[in-house]
């Protein structure tokens, strides 16, 4: 995969891929949204079950984005690859956005179902820490002027923070919590009826396609900006 990772190749490939990826994201989200409201109300949760279709995919992408950011940070530290920096830096704001969306939609789901918007239990608290990790990472990038040093410091922060991912994942098993346990990706198959699984599945795919569309666009933006900075240096301005 690293042979595709020089900036010129990346610009060619991502440029060709982007319109398709964007179209796939729009299509999946449109069908997913339709099915989200076509599904019947749940027999226990009523219409609040529809919040699941925007809450669960946001939470998945929030965690996936952090994993990707940490992986890119590792490659950046070990291989000193310039694209890895760009990928990690570009993933952070979207990771923060999806984390915030998962927290807000979860809160709006918790109020009618649990009777509270928020509770300081393991799942919710570790997810809030995920948001702070993203915000800290972004702040650190902006705090260090020298790009190479910023990249290294941020990569270390991202790698230290990766310990939070298993804590989020297993929090519902390790500690007692209001949050339900795994009901979709589990041994023995999902516990959710197909009529709810399909919209969830399509929304999750749509969120994934949207995340990568945004990520590629932002990586391209960052590469163009770096080119401008190099050119500006060369002309002494």
């Amino acid at each position: 995969m690293l042979e595709y990772a020089n900036p010129k190749r990346f610009m060619d490939l991502s440029g060709a891929l982007l319109p398709w990826l964007g179209a796939v994201a729009a299509l999946l989200l449109a069908v997913g949204l339709y099915l989200s409201f076509a599904a019947p109300p749940d027999y226990q949760q009523g219409d609040t079950v529809r919040i699941m279709f925007v809450h669960v995919p946001a939470a998945w992408i929030a965690m996936m984005a952090y994993g990707l950011m940490a992986l890119a940070s590792l490659v950046s530290l070990v291989n000193r690859h310039p694209l890895a920096d760009v990928a990690a830096k570009s993933a952070a704001p979207f990771g923060a956005l999806f984390t915030a969306l998962a927290l807000i939609t979860g809160s709006l789901w918790g109020r009618p179902m649990w009777g509270t918007y928020w509770v300081w239990d393991a799942r919710l608290t570790s997810f809030l820490i995920l948001l702070f990790l993203y915000l800290g990472y972004i702040a650190l990038w902006n705090a260090i002027e020298d790009e190479t040093r910023a990249a290294r410091a941020c990569a270390i922060l991202a790698l230290v923070g990766v310990v939070n991912l298993p804590i989020i994942e297993f929090s519902v098993q390790w500690w007692s919590t209001l949050h339900q346990g795994e009901s979709i990706v589990r041994a023995g198959g999902p516990l959710i009826a197909g009529v709810f699984l399909w919209p969830l599945f399509l929304m999750a795919l749509g969120y994934t396609a949207l995340f990568f569309t945004l990520l590629l666009l932002r990586m391209r933006t960052e590469i163009l900006d770096r080119r401008v900075r190099t050119l500006a240096l060369g002309r002494g301005r």
């Binding site: 609040t48 925007v54 969306l101 949207l210 945004l214 050119l231 500006a232």
Partner: protein, 54 residues
């Protein structure tokens, strides 16, 4: 029929804000990302005198 749909079985105050904040957040991300990309292209074009995307 429509009023029934909008009522969300009495949970309108939770379902619609959840979808609203999601639409707002994702819409803003798409808008700001596209705008940032267009601006970066314009800045580079100023330097190179080209209009191409690379």
């Amino acid at each position: 029929m429509l009023a029934n749909f909008l009522a969300m079985g009495g949970y309108a105050a939770f379902v619609w804000p959840a979808y609203g904040v999601t639409a707002l957040g994702l819409g803003a991300a798409v808008f700001l990302t596209l705008r940032g990309y267009a601006r970066a292209k314009a800045r580079l074009a100023q330097f190179t005198g080209e209009t191409g995307s690379r």
